[in-house]
Amino acid sequence: MYEGVVQNLIDELGMLPGVGPKSAQRIAFHLLAADPADVKRLAHALLEVKERVRFCRVCGNVAAEEECRICRDQRRDPHVICVVEESKDVVAIEKTREFRGRYHVLGGAISPIDGVGPDDLRIRELMTRLADGQVTELILATDPNLEGEATATYLARLVKPMGLKVTRLASGLPVGGDLEYADEVTLGRAFEGRRLLDV
């Protein structure tokens, strides 16, 4: 146990995800030894992120204003919406530079065992966006795990009567890997989603 303020800092840092007591202690002593200006900058960034950042009223992505940068961008295709679980997924897809449409962040995936059902996600907001008839394709980019697949199944079933084109991100072999090391589920999906080589 340390002096009150140091222990307080260790306790607070220990509340962060993935930070255990030892890591919290290490970070606390790093901050004690750091330049006061650096620590002030960190404290300011922490306060600012809580004060200024909000969720985009259209897509649910993190935004500094009422609408996020992507929803404000008039060059983005309004006819295609890519549905993701978290804002982190938007960043991952943006890094590919392959997608020029818009996003919809659900805020998680359906997981009944954790008490998360469709009503706990931003599905109602998605249906409102689809209701105006402007969207022609819905890309379901939820995680390729069980909860993500279940969420995609639920959404596909919900959207089906609207006559939209609903697509799911492909699953398969990672680029740069050896086939023999692929697990049977991934390899099976890769077979299902094989494509014609047009040479």
Partner: protein, 274 residues
């Protein structure tokens, strides 16, 4: 595989129900990375062959081979997926102690998931059959043929706290009076009589689900969170609460000896909804 929880940057804590060692929790390192060699095998519903290295607090999963990936079939059908998650949560709750052998619960769960994935029976029927049988294995089988309190054969109500059907004199004030067909359905599900269960009417299935869910949660002393999200494949019938007084139709007869009352006039009790 019962459930997974995120741990740190890319790891997961995996809870599995094993054939020999009962419930075991282990760490699967790096499985959330897309390059993980066994991430896809460690998904809930999967029946796997697992190798664990014994750790200080949690074991570490070192190798996984898939026996049957039931998740693939279940996730493509939303009502079956929700029913499956309720089965996993119940198995987790019924096997409280870690590393305490629970062979019968294991076999029951594997059989239940296989039946659910095969799509031969309605998902909610499979779920209710699993609930009833897992309760029976745990020692909480409901009394369905004789009064749970005095053993009398002329039963008329279902009292969850009493442990099943009760006779007129043992009937507590809050007991509900289900249709005789509902009790017959419960017996069929408990015994695995699928032809009889499949032939049951939707309203009796709904009533059976409500009673079974309430009975399960009473004995577990814990709510099953997944139950709120379980979807029916068929629309529920509009129901109403019904508190019959003595002498009215709706008295439950022993199975196979329905005593000549008109099923259409038999009320449904929706007091204990899932």
């Amino acid at each position: 595989m019962l459930r997974t929880q995120k741990l740190g940057e890319a790891d997961r804590i995996i809870t599995v129900l094993t054939k020999r060692a009962g419930k075991v929790r282990g760490v699967a390192k790096g499985v959330r990375r897309t390059t993980s060699r066994f991430g896809a095998r460690l998904e809930p519903f999967s029946h796997v062959d697992l190798q664990l290295h014994e750790g200080r607090s949690l074991d570490v999963i070192t190798q996984v081979e898939t026996i049957r990936p039931y998740g693939e079939a279940l996730v493509a059908d939303y009502p079956r997926y929700t029913a499956g998650t309720a089965m996993l949560e119940t198995a987790d709750r019924l096997t409280l102690g870690e590393k305490e052998p629970a062979l019968r619960q294991f076999l029951l769960l594997v059989g239940g998931l296989r039946t659910l994935a095969e799509r031969e029976h309605e998902a909610r029927l499979v779920l209710d059959a699993y609930f009833l049988r897992s309760l029976a294995v745990a020692g909480y089988a409901p009394a369905l043929s004789e009064c749970a309190r005095c053993g009398a054969e002329a039963v008329r109500a279902f009292a969850i706290a009493a442990g099943g059907v009760v006779c007129g004199s043992c009937r507590p004030p809050a007991a509900t009076v289900p249709a005789a067909e509902t009790i017959t359905l419960m017996i069929a599900l408990l015994r695995g009589d699928w032809p009889m269960a499949d032939a049951s009417e939707p309203r009796h299935r709904t009533e059976c689900s409500g009673l079974v869910a309430a009975y399960l949660q009473w004995h577990l002393e814990h709510g099953i969170r997944s139950l709120r999200h379980v979807e029916r494949e068929q629309a529920r019938e509009p129901g109403r609460e019904w508190w019959p007084s003595a002498g009215e139709p709706g008295a439950v007869s022993p199975p196979g000896a329905a005593r000549g009352f008109d099923p259409k006039s038999t009320p449904n009790s929706h007091i204990f909804r899932a």
